[in-house]
């Protein structure tokens, strides 16, 4: 195993570590990017050169210590190079999600007073130019992809290659300058402003010091070792703390190869070509992979279907005995792993929300070493993880190191309370917001706001956000998310919101999974036109009713769904209904669908809808339909009889 901590001590900022890697392993592959159908290689030397040129280019523009530099776009070598270059000149990097709304971008860029933004392409440049007057500090917009840029004549615009050219010239005139800049960087200085996921209001910016990020990565690597022969595919959003940890921190520290896909849409194909050794997916992605496999099986020949059933049964049976079935491997799993690009996986993780136990078992049986991790941006991402051999889908594992202290505050009789944590490498506070820092940090402990407890095995179990635990009018506490996750394990349900806080019973608003149900409808010769139309078909209602009843059977009576309806549209982050990491924003939903929610609880059998949907491109569509409410409570009049 490599000496990660030693390396983090030898070079305590990203630019220092990059320079060290370039000196010692200059010719080795650091990054790959798929472009024009081919994987292009970037050695540590190439990486270092691009970073140096960007950094000196920014120096030429008069930028330096204390400035904020924004970065927005798809994951690409220029993205990570821009970040390290920003750190090299002593500035702070602020990553923005590529699908950030104008409002949010304006807020973050003006709050951080960003002077320069690296924007990948026309799409992002459009966004920034539209903000114009609201971000008065923004003086430079650097773009990598020149396509579609002819039409602009804005003095702030500059090509990334142009910026690099400026830097190259400066390096020619002052050969020692870059090294001086890098030597001047300090590990305890704020290097990264990391947006917190913000399920409420505006996101906060956590100040992270590079030295701490690297030391925390070293801790993580000591628990889950990686090295230069490891392959990683970078597809999580780079502004997110975990991708900062993987693509930058860990990538620099253990020199695993970081690969960038051609386009978000080619992910699965490029993923398979690389066959990475490690992957972190959100539960939603694992679930949709599992759902895609099942949908693919539904479409295949009867022979393949029975082989799949046979293999799955043998695999799950072996897993239940703690073993791996060689027969199942031969029949099914080897081909499946290859198809999904999982052949070389040595470590796989999920986190951010609970993953359905059945999905968990599905992948474990397949031989994917899936584990759960848990953490927060403020605590530099994950700090608990399952140890190998002690994987329990209901828990999030144990602290990765002894210096990570976790305690449960204000536990109730079952030991459930708030998860409170501290470790030596946590964040330095929120940017320009000491009040917010003081609210979450007390005596050096970070209050996570999550409810959880330690189980008998001393593993941490996370239930939900404390404030998201809801109580019915009858005083029964429940976690909407827990029930939603159970429902979403059905391949037919894409998204759902469970209601019931302060009400007499639980109800669910369900968004059908269009890709699967449309196929199902085709197979059953059910004609439909749009999503809205499909979601209102009685056959679809009957199908979903069976799914909800199946889930109800696994829940205690007080937590069962008594009514549900199928929503006329999908919940969308663009409408503010989901966060960028696709968590349900309950307050927005409660407000936006107040009429529907009241009607559900008012006992209405049918709710007339007349609304206008606004698309991202500004076009609108009027929707008029009637939503049927299905009543599942035992004392309800029989739905069939009423129809």
């Amino acid at each position: 195993m490599m000496d990660y901590a030693g390396r983090a001590a030898a070079a305590d900022t990203f630019p220092k570590l990059l320079r060290l890697n370039a000196r010692e392993h200059g010719g080795d592959i650091a990054l790959r990017e798929k472009d024009l159908g081919l994987w292009r290689l970037f050695s540590w030397n190439d990486y270092q050169t691009r970073v140096r040129d960007f950094a000196l280019g920014m120096v030429e523009l008069g930028l330096g210590h204390g400035d904020v530099i924004g970065i927005i776009g798809d994951n690409r070598p220029d993205w990570v190079s821009a970040e390290i270059a920003t750190h090299a000149i002593g500035a702070m990097s602020l990553g923005l999600y590529r699908d950030v709304l104008d409002e949010e971008a304006a807020y973050l860029l003006s709050y951080g007073a960003a002077k320069l933004v690296f924007a990948e392409d026309e799409e992002q440049v459009d966004k920034l130019l539209a903000l114009a007057a609201r971000v008065p500090n923004l003086k430079h917009i650097v773009y990598s992809d020149p396509r579609g840029m002819r039409k602009y004549d804005d003095p702030r615009l500059m090509r990334a290659d142009g910026l690099a050219g400026l830097g190259r010239d400066r390096a020619g005139r002052e050969p020692g300058l870059y090294d001086q800049l890098v030597d001047a960087t300090r590990g305890e200085d704020v290097a990264i402003l990391c947006t917190t996921s913000g399920t409420t209001a505006h996101p906060k910016l956590a100040m992270l010091a590079a030295g701490r990020v690297l030391r925390h990565c070293a801790t993580y690597l000591a628990f889950d070792p990686k090295g230069p022969d490891d392959e990683y595919v970078s597809v999580l959003p780079l502004p997110w703390i975990m991708e900062q940890v993987y693509a930058l921190g860990k990538g620099l520290l253990c020199r695993m190869k970081v690969n960038f896909v051609e386009q978000p849409d080619t992910l699965m194909n490029d993923f398979r070509e690389i066959a990475p050794t490690f992957v972190l997916f959100a539960p939603r992605v694992w679930e949709s992979i599992a759902a895609d496999v099942r949908a693919g099986v539904m479409d295949s020949s009867p022979l393949k279907q029975s082989l799949y059933q046979l293999g799955m049964k043998a695999g799950l049976a072996a897993l239940a005995r703690g073993r791996h079935s060689a027969t199942a491997d031969l029949l099914l799993f080897r081909a499946l792993r290859d198809r999904l690009g999982f052949t070389r996986l040595r470590s796989a993780a999920t986190g951010g929300a609970a993953l359905g136990p059945d999905t968990f078992k599905f992948f474990q049986a397949m031989g994917v070493p899936l584990r759960t991790l848990y953490g927060q941006t403020e605590l530099l991402g994950a700090y608990t993880l399952h140890p190998f051999g002690k994987v329990d889908p209901d828990t999030t594992g144990v602290a990765m190191a002894d210096n990570i202290e976790i305690r449960i505050d204000n536990p109730d009789i079952h030991g459930v309370g708030e998860i409170v944590v501290r470790h030596p490498n946590m964040f330095l506070g929120y940017y320009k917001s000491p009040e917010a820092s003081a609210a979450d940090m007390k005596d050096g402990w970070m209050h996570s706001g999550d409810a959880g407890y330690f189980n008998d095995d001393n593993q941490l179990v996370v239930i939900d956000r404390i404030k998201d635990l809801a109580e019915t009018a009858r005083g029964e506490r429940f976690s909407p998310q827990y029930i939603e996750n159970k429902l979403k394990f059905s391949p037919y349900i894409a998204e759902t919101v469970v209601l019931g806080a302060g009400r007499d019973a639980l109800a669910a608003m369900i968004c059908i999974r269009f890709s699967i149900i449309s196929k199902w409808a085709e197979k059953h010769r059910i004609a439909f036109t749009t999503y809205t139309d499909l979601a209102s078909r009685p056959e679809v209602y009957a199908l979903l009713r069976r799914e909800v009843e199946t889930v109800n059977a696994t829940l205690p009576p007080a937590q069962r769904i008594s009514r549900f309806l199928l929503l006329y549209k999908e919940l969308d982050a663009d409408d503010g209904e989901l966060t960028r990491t696709r968590k349900v924003r309950r307050s927005v939903i409660n407000e936006k669908y107040a009429g529907i929610i009241d009607a559900i609880y008012g006992g209405q059998r049918e709710i007339p809808i007349d609304t206008v949907i606004r698309f991202q491109d500004g076009t609108t569509q009027r929707i008029r339909t009637r939503l049927a409410v299905v009543d599942l409570s035992p004392d309800a009049p029989l739905a069939e009889a009423a129809e």
Binding site: D35, L36, G37, L38, R147, G148, R150, E262, Q263, D265, T266, N269, D617, T619
Partner: protein, 273 residues
């Protein structure tokens, strides 16, 4: 100014049916020129005359000053004329990549005999070069996710885009697009309009487009010509064409002499109107 493409008094008759009657117009270098008109106005007939599928009954066609009226269809791509079809004409069982590669056929120097000596005759280098060009087009049209998909399995909007890619692979100087947006939803249309504008501005191709959707045409075209019953009834920049009373009548279905009696000569129509 000499036109890149010019039609002089082109008429086309199928037996007693007059598809085109003395149509004359010119497309300038670097222009995005559109032809609109109701169904059966003769729009596709014009494209077929230019690409050589039909021989005009009367009149002449000039491309860069050269009379191409009698030139064989297969000789026209080498002159720099490419086209797409209103009803898709892809090789359904081939991949998207291969479909686009076909577009480069006339640019290949090696034939199947010299190609068998792969390394000796430069066939390998040639293939790499062509593949790179094709990849650039794939990149331009965002076809990466379907690069290796079988063309026949793709949704209609995407197949239209593959057709455009194949026409682009010819590296034409003049590209004829026959209803590139027919049958598309709003979003697909917007994307396609973007590609066509970029094609014109970024690749510097002269574009002659036939289209149904007035909105898109008026948005992106430099000049527009309107056909009705095989005759030209208006030509000019989008604003003036929209304001033209003949066009209004043709599109709004109001009674007009041109519609009532298609055998009238345009001169009579003018005086009657």
């Amino acid at each position: 100014m000499a036109h890149t493409l010019e039609l002089r008094g082109v008429s086309l008759r199928f037996g007693g049916v007059r598809a085109l009657t003395e149509v004359s117009f010119g497309v300038n270098e670097g222009e995005l020129f559109s032809i609109i008109g109701p169904n059966g106005a003769g729009k596709t007939s014009i494209v077929n005359c230019i690409s050589g599928r039909y021989r005009p009954t009367d009149g002449q066609l000039f491309y860069r000053g050269r009379d191409i009226t009698a030139l064989n269809p297969n000789a026209r791509p080498s002159l720099g004329i490419g086209r797409t079809f209103q009803n898709l004409a892809l090789f359904h069982h081939m991949t998207v990549l291969d479909n686009i590669m076909v577009g480069r056929h006339h640019l290949l120097k090696n034939n199947f005999i010299t190609g068998s000596l792969y390394w000796l005759t430069g066939a390998r280098r040639e293939e790499l070069e062509h593949r790179r060009k094709v990849e650039e087009i794939i990149d331009f049209l965002d076809l990466q996710p379907v690069r290796k998909a079988t063309a026949g399995t793709l949704p209609y909007g995407l197949r239209k885009r593959v057709e455009l890619a194949r026409a682009m692979a010819l590296e034409p100087q003049l590209i004829l697009l026959d209803e590139p947006m027919a049958g598309m939803n709003f979003e697909e249309k917007e994307d396609m309009a973007r590609y066509i504008v970029d094609l014109n501005e970024e690749f510097g191709m002269t574009v002659m487009m036939i289209e149904h959707d007035m909105g898109v045409v008026m948005d992106i075209s430099h000049r527009v010509m309107v056909l009705d019953f095989g005759r030209k009834i208006a030509e000019g920049d989008p604003a003036s064409v929209l304001a033209d009373p003949h066009v209004k009548r043709a599109y709004l279905g109001e009674e007009d002499e041109v519609l009532v009696d298609p055998d009238n000569t345009p001169a009579t129509t003018e005086s009657a109107a």
